[in-house]
Symmetry: C2
Subunit: 402 residues, 2 copies
């Protein structure tokens, strides 16, 4: 198959052509020349080379603009990227075309605490199934996202609190060896942020935050259209911002962390306590049906839907604390958009209303006057698309090799 | 004089040459060609044009590198920038050369609450005195910084809490008309941050925060070597982050703001209250000598130096609250350096110790492992140098016109 021969962009000019085709769709050579401010001859030479590399293809004559007809250029139709999103409790694997359109997605439950060998073997099974299904021998690249801090340049997780056994494991290199293609590893919120930027609600945003409220809480930061990772790669680690002295112990070992009060795991823990104490009859009934396992954020959402006041209070407390932290970040960062995603968005608009109320009330009017706070459009699929987008950035861009 | 004839850079290539000369000093044409990856012929053409524009000059033969001797290029020796830093209680005006070396500085007390006409007239008197002293008819550009939010693109202050009468006043255009040169207006913390980046403790930093604790509290944010202003230009407005419910009313009208608890103004207010209640004998004596006016942060510093436990407690409370907010910002932004500046640094290392203790204790180890938190090196002069640096960016760079 062609895929095994496809190369990477060789120059910044080629990278700009490929990024244009990815983000805008097919363009004529004349349009490319206009956009990149170079001659049509230069474009013709670069496009010819991209065709040789298996990255682009010519796609017939463009609509006439009056003069000589230009030729349309598109990404090679057989480019395939793999996106892998590993969560605390499940794996999603997707296959995309060159423009990161999702062709297939497969999901399976998987406990991340089983460690990298077991979890990556599961993920690889899904990847191979997806590839076989689509008749693809080898993808042009793969992106993988995990729910914890990552050293992006080394391609390894770094002391991830909810991922025992993963610290320093060479995830990127292991996957690259198995799949025979370039791989990038990033954390889940970064993948979710760029996924939402590519195909979701953040399409028009240049400076925005993606806040994930799942088992943990984290934040992807996009500045000027690019991910901001911070000096040590741990920017956006807002789950461990201290919101109060004391309180429950966090997975990181400290107390007072936002995550320990307001994450999905915290909601499940508090709901279980309310059920056991008998204070909430609704939650107590749910727990009884569960024979032994604890309640989760999804149960809280169900109890809220049933109008249980204790569950509503839990949800509001969570939203209030998230809102307090977001208000600080709005004052500091003055973003153009905040996207809320993650499993806890099963609580949907009720949680969003609380987060919005607190954020808007506690920030300066200048920073919130035109600040939308919205729910993610893509949900979990955003992580798969984002992971694919991250590797496409590496394959398409000559200067960003992983 | 030549200055009135000097133009601005006309192309990105010229801008890169000028920025190199500003930040690194004289370079040979061969070095410039290497750095910008263009031919020596191209460099020769661009340098000749910069000489015509009055922005650059040739400066003799370079040391031999074996082949044909290259010619040294420097910024024109008669380039002069003006930097104006307006604070709550005083004005600093400086004159710099093309590399932003300070040639002279003048200061005068001035209450910003007197409004833009009075304060700008005072500032202009100082500017004219500085220019006359140096025999300069017209500077090539001027930068001005004020202690409040600014719409950078329109060149006007926007609802600045401690600057009554300044909202929407056309500061940039008024100054530009008076001085006959391009002017940029920015807020004080942005100027302080780029000043410290150009000539102070942040020289090697790409991603850092400059936190000013003065009459108010604010933060300049540098990302990838460039100021980050946020979507509405109010990024860094950390003085109004809510640190506690209730508490004293802030200048912004809310309660619970960091600034209302921990700024220089808050220290003065609390010290005055301690003096009036007689709880601190040291502060009470200071207040008596003051016939009527309130105590200030400088008095708190003096009382701390005398070992007054009440003053020490005030200072520690202030440092603790600043540290709490910084810990959140460290988790979110993962900066490479935090610089603490502003008048309250009269409290110096005692305050710094408290800020450090709280910030390091409340952040994740990964983000603080190699994070220096240091005092500003330049103090107030940083604002003057930074204001000059901001206008140099506009004059030197073809694509950043104010």
């Amino acid at each position: 198959m062609r895929h095994s021969l496809a190369g990477r962009a060789e120059s910044p000019m080629q990278a700009r052509i490929l990024a244009g085709l990815r983000d805008e769709g097919p363009l004529s050579k004349a349009q490319l020349a206009d956009r990149l401010q170079v001659s049509r001859t230069t474009i013709a030479v670069e496009v010819a080379r991209l065709v040789e590399l298996g990255l682009a293809q010519e796609a017939g004559p463009a609509a006439s603009r009056g003069g000589r007809r230009s030729t349309m250029v598109d990404l090679a139709s057989d480019i395939r990227f793999v996106g892998v999103a590993i969560g605390a409790t499940g794996i999603s694997v997707g296959l995309t075309d060159g423009r990161l359109g999702l062709l297939t997605v497969r999901e399976r439950p998987c406990d991340i605490r089983k460690g990298p060998e077991v979890v990556l073997a599961s993920a690889l099974e899904e990847v191979r199934a997806v590839l076989a299904e689509a008749g693809v021998e080898r993808p042009i690249g793969a992106g993988i996202a995990v729910p914890g801090p990552v050293d992006f340049h080394r391609g390894v997780p770094v002391s991830p609190p909810i991922m025992p056994g993963w610290d320093g494991y060479p995830v990127r290199d292991a996957l690259s060896r198995e799949l025979g293609c370039p791989v990038v590893l990033d954390n889940d919120v970064n993948a979710l942020a760029v996924g939402e930027q590519h195909a979701g609600v953040a399409r028009a945003a240049k400076d925005f935050l993606y806040v994930k409220i799942g088992t943990g809480i984290g934040c992807g930061i996009v500045i000027g259209g690019e991910l901001y990772r911070g000096v040590d790669g741990c920017a956006g680690d807002i789950g461990h911002i201290r919101v109060e002295d004391g309180g429950p112990t966090c997975a990181c070992g400290n107390t007072g962390c936002l995550e320990a009060f307001a994450s999905g795991a915290a909601l499940g823990r508090d709901a279980t306590a309310l059920a056991r104490s008998g204070r909430s009859a609704v939650l107590a009934t749910m727990l009884k049906e569960r024979d032994g396992t604890e309640l989760t954020a999804a149960d809280v959402a169900a109890a809220v839907a049933q109008g249980d006041p204790h569950a509503v209070q839990l949800m509001r407390d969570s939203g209030r604390r998230v809102g307090q932290v977001l208000a600080s970040l709005v004052s500091f960062f003055n973003p153009g958009l905040i996207v809320i995603g993650g499993r806890v968005t099963g609580l949907g608009h009720a949680l969003l209303a609380e987060v919005r109320a607190v954020t808007y009330r506690s920030s300066l009017p200048l920073a919130t006057g035109s600040l939308p706070i919205v729910l993610s459009e893509l949900g979990d699929e955003g992580g798969v698309i984002g992971a694919a987008r991250l590797i496409s950035g590496s394959v398409y861009a000559a200067d960003e090799r992983s």
